[in-house]
């Protein structure tokens, strides 16, 4: 499928190549956010930094948790915990599509042999009050990335517009490495002294979390924690200014952490099956209210405000 001289041999090699590629194109290679999130978009490096006029360029791996997708490690393609690679560049560069295609070449996908198609797609996140237009990128009939130009986040119009790329790493890697079951995928180099497959690392955790997510999680506790996160978020944003030492600090990020918590708690409650169809919209609305409040707060801070120098033409 790919030229063996440039073909990656493991899951981690694919990640390292993407990190190198985007780092070389000027992105700050950040680390994953240290909280449970459903997607790379939730990292403050995307949701908050896409707001305001300050330019930004970041790339990072993000472990993502989707409790309803748990299959006890038995399904060859579906996991309740998986990795996304996330890139956010603001303002979106005019050659973003070409940059993306270059990243595919970097991980061993030869566009002369494969069918890469940009399929028109619109993205929206009701929980974050966000939406954008863009594409699903398909490689030989399989969706491998989401490519989005953010139009609105947290209820705010985006000026300038951020370009976001999200790669489904396991799916992409399985294709590049020619693996049919995710658990069989080599995580480190197969010829390492201690070779570890994806299954060696994650099969058991998939089983454990599937059981907890679907059958065991204490729903009363989850509901209480949701309410707590919701209350704390609002309380943080309403804290009196200035603080006792006279500093004016708007705690947008600590508040946003609570919003992320609430979103994950909602996903857990959903997996436990306790959210009815009519209640679902109400919960999503509550998380969205938090996201908007955090967005409103962020744009009043330094990081969310205008640059001192004017932007050069993109």
């Amino acid at each position: 499928m790919t030229d063996t001289a440039t073909a990656p041999r493991s899951f981690q090699e694919i990640i390292l190549r993407l990190m190198t590629y985007w780092g070389a194109r000027g992105c700050a290679v950040l680390q994953p956010y240290d909280m449970e999130v459903g997607a790379g978009t939730f990292h403050p490096a995307t949701t908050l930094r896409s707001l305001g006029t300050r330019p930004w360029a970041a790339a990072y791996v993000q472990p993502s948790r989707r409790p309803t997708d748990g299959r006890y490690g038995e399904n060859p393609n579906r996991l309740q915990h998986y990795y996304q690679y996330q890139v956010l560049i603001k303002p979106s560069p005019p050659d973003l599509q070409d940059l993306y295609l270059g990243s595919l070449a970097a991980i061993g996908i030869d566009t002369a042999l494969h069918d890469i198609r940009f399929v028109e797609d619109d993205w929206e996140s009701p929980t974050l009050g966000a939406w954008g237009l863009g594409w699903e990128v398909w490689c030989d009939g399989m969706e491998v990335s989401q490519f989005t130009y953010f139009q609105q986040v947290g209820g705010h119009d985006c000026h300038p517009v951020s370009g976001e790329l999200t790669y489904g790493l396991e799916r992409l890697a399985m294709y590049v490495l020619g693996v049919d079951h995710v658990m069989d995928m080599p995580f480190n180099d197969p010829s390492a002294r201690i070779p570890l497959t994806y299954g060696d690392i994650f099969r058991q955790t998939e089983q454990e979390y599937s059981r907890w997510n679907f059958d065991q999680a204490d729903t009363d506790m989850l509901l209480r924690h949701f309410a707590d996160a919701e209350a704390e978020c609002a309380r943080i944003l309403a804290a009196p200014q200035p603080d006792k030492a006279g500093r004016h600090i708007i705690m947008a990020h600590p508040a946003y952490d609570q919003c992320i918590k609430a979103s994950h708690l909602f996903n857990l409650l959903d997996a436990r099956g306790v959210i009815s169809v009519t209640e679902r919209q109400a919960y999503i609305g509550r998380v969205r209210t938090l996201a908007r409040a955090c967005a409103d707060a962020f744009v009043t801070t330094q990081a969310g405000a205008d640059r001192c120098e004017s932007l050069t033409d993109a």
Partner: protein, 685 residues
């Protein structure tokens, strides 16, 4: 939009053609005039005698100097005239202006901004090519939109011919794009895809399942279509063809290839966007891999569902419906199924179905909503019900009812005719309608989230399509009452201090309202079949208007009747009689329904009318009894001539009070006789 703008600016053209690919939009305009017409406008100004300020105002509005005005004679004296000459403008300048306006104002359903710009377009706009070609050569139109300046260059296929090249005109553009692996015309791409897919299918002894929507969609995803076909792994061929087709179409955008002899789906065709040195082998292998993953999932669901249904029956699969809310005021899906089962049993004899079978089918018809397959492919609801019911050893029309009870889904969808299917289909929709009417959640002018209009139309089509005779009013009333009673017991808190009898008393008005809703839907439906709403109104006034089959029979006969000469004139005659009678009744304050006596008839026309009425009444009653509405209409048609003759020869308001009263009573007979057939008052015109 562009051609309108050009014409408005004074240019003309011979023809225009538009093209689109995933990466570009193109418009070619031929025979454009080189300059716009020179325009000469004459404007009348103030009188010469008017104050100077008026003249100054006129000079300002025309932009001319005083010396340029003409003084002309007018009937009132001398008047200033301005002659404004607008010279023709070169086409290039006009095209630039029009295009800029069109680009800025383009009505994309959804558009976006990108980078630091403010321009909106469907996706980021990278370049504009705008070239005007005439006998002297090609010139670039001076078009600028934000930071984009039009040029004469474009690029071919993103991967196969990405280098830019310049063009001198449309023919050059189209030809060079083709060489650059871009098929500009969407119709040409569709035709090529269809042709190649058919050829490749034929080579494998298969045919392509037609799918116009998919063809259009896929043609919009590629600039250089390359069809690749493959066979489905035999391990998956046991899956129902609908499952294969739905999975391939919705997830993969594949065409299904069918074996013409067996009807089984055995292959697929996909459309790639490029040629490769390995003739698509890598691409096809990749697509195959994805398909395998998808079909493995589908097979996993299929086998699991079959296992459940064989071990626990459809009822076992349906257990989870108790936890699925149908509507928070109407309870769970399981509770709804119980209602539908009871209703299906009740309706069964009316449609010629065995009550036990109808009840059985209703009991299991929603079980597939709990299946893994329908969970993954919601569009397969009903169909999977049929497969799973058959696997659970149901037969005698029960599996078919699981599939068919959702129909008809739209105004052109087929209407089920098998009795068990009809019973469940009617029960399902009537339960939905009576449920929502019981809790007073009716559709509004702009919102109908539960598709109640469609449900009512479905019942109408089921009833009319199968000639079902049933009195909906009684059915609705009983059902709504039952539901209200159930709700009162189950959610008494909701009702507060209201007495049970008061709650149940709402059933009758709700039922009437629901019937009126049905009548509205019926009018819309019959209007499309050429029966006017006033004809239906005339029949709605007759008894039995909740028996839709009877109602429509009557309406059809009346419509046919009104198209005849007799019919039209009889209606006029009726109106005349009715008007005179009503006036007299109002004036005199009495009803002239005593009965007329022929012995008071003075003229031959009066006597003839009496005889005609006798004859008509004798014919109408038996005809109405056997529902031979055509015969009934013919009977009153025979009244036309005598009524016309009567009005020509006889003066109703005779000076003789007795004669007058008798004649008014006679008019009442006319009215009453016609009223037996239809309420002709409602006929318009």
């Amino acid at each position: 939009m562009v051609t309108d703008g050009l014409v408005e600016a004074g240019l003309t053209y011979a023809g225009a053609a538009a093209f689109s690919t995933p990466r570009r939009l193109a418009l070619a305009i031929e025979g454009l005039t080189a300059t716009s017409r020179a325009v000469r406008e004459e404007r009348k100004g103030p009188a010469a005698s008017a104050p100077d300020t008026a003249l100054q105002g006129f000079l300002r509005s025309t932009g001319l100097a005083r010396e340029q005005l003409e003084l002309r004679d007018d009937k009132k004296g001398q008047v200033w005239f301005a002659v404004i000459e607008k010279p023709g403008r070169p086409a290039a300048a006009i095209v630039a202006e029009v295009l800029e306006a069109v680009i800025r104002g383009f009505p994309w359903p959804k558009s976006m901004r990108w980078g630091a710009g403010t321009l909106r377009w469907v996706r980021p706009l990278h370049s504009i090519l705008c070239v005007l070609t005439d006998e002297h050569g090609a010139q670039v139109v001076p078009l600028t939109v934000d930071h984009l300046t039009a040029g004469a260059t474009t690029r071919g296929h993103r991967f196969m011919a990405p280098a830019p090249f310049a063009v001198t005109g449309f023919d050059d553009y189209a030809a060079r794009l083709e060489r650059g692996f871009v098929v500009l015309d969407a119709a040409a791409r569709e035709a090529a895809i269809w042709h190649d897919a058919t050829t490749q299918a034929f080579a494998r002894g298969l045919e392509v399942v037609p799918d116009a929507g998919l063809l259009a969609e896929v043609a919009g995803l590629v600039e250089w279509p390359v069809v690749l076909a493959g066979l489905i792994d035999p391990a998956f061929l046991e899956l129902p063809p609908e499952v294969l087709q739905t999975s391939m179409r919705s997830h993969q955008k594949f065409f299904s290839l069918r074996n013409p002899k067996t009807g089984r789906i055995e292959g697929f065709a996909t459309v790639a966007n490029r040629e490769t040195v390995d003739h698509g082998a890598t691409i096809l292998a990749g697509n195959n891999k994805v398909l395998s993953a998808r079909l493995s999932d589908a097979r996993f669901f299929w086998e699991n569902d079959l296992r459940t249904v064989k071990a626990q029956g459809m009822e076992g699969m349906a257990v989870g419906l108790a936890l699925v809310t149908f509507h928070n005021k109407l309870g769970s899906q399981a509770e709804r199924v119980l209602r539908v089962e009871a209703l299906a049993r009740e309706i069964a004899p009316l449609v010629g179905a065995a009550p036990d079978l109808a009840a059985e089918a209703a009991r299991i018809c929603k079980a597939d909503l709990q299946s893994a397959m329908v969970g993954e492919f919601p569009e397969l609801q009903g169909l999977m019900g049929r497969y799973y019911a058959a696997a659970a050893s149901h037969n005698d029309g029960v599996p078919q009812a699981c599939e068919m009870h959702y129909k008809p889904l739209g105004p052109t969808d087929a209407v089920p005719s098998d009795p068990v299917s009809v019973a469940v289909a009617m029960a399902d929709k009537i339960d939905t309608l009576t449920g929502f009417w019981a809790i007073d959640e009716k559709p509004t002018g702009s919102k109908d989230p539960f598709a109640l209009r469609r449900a009512a139309l479905g019942v109408i089509r089921l009833v009319l399509g199968n000639g079902v005779r049933c009195n909906l009013d009684a059915l609705f009333g009983a059902r709504i009452r039952w539901i209200l009673d159930y709700l009162y017991n189950w959610q008494s808190a909701q009702f507060g201090d209201v007495e049970r009898d008061d709650v149940l008393a709402k059933a009758a008005p709700a039922s009437s309202d629901l019937l009126a809703f049905f009548h509205d839907r019926l009018k819309v439906y019959l209007r499309d079949q050429g029966i006017r709403h006033d004809v239906i109104d005339a029949c709605l006034a007759m008894p039995g208007n909740d028996d839709l089959t009877l109602l429509v029979k009557r309406a059809e006969a009346l419509a046919a009747f009104l198209k005849t000469d007799d019919g039209e004139n009889l209606t006029q005659g009726f109106r005349r009689a009715n008007n005179i009678l009503t006036q007299a009744e109002q004036k005199d304050g009495v009803e002239y329904s005593y009965g007329a006596d022929p012995k008071f008839a003075e003229t031959a026309e009066e006597r003839a009318l009496f005889k005609a009425l006798d004859k008509a009444e004798a014919a109408i009653a038996p005809a109405m009894k056997t529902e031979d509405f055509a015969a009934a209409m013919a009977a009153i048609a025979a009244l036309r001539a005598p009524i016309d003759a009567f009005f020509t020869a006889v003066q109703v308001n005779s000076d003789n009070a007795v004669i007058r009263r008798n004649r008014l009573n006679l008019l009442h007979r006319i009215r009453a006789t016609c009223a037996q057939v239809a309420d002709l008052n409602r006929i318009e015109g």
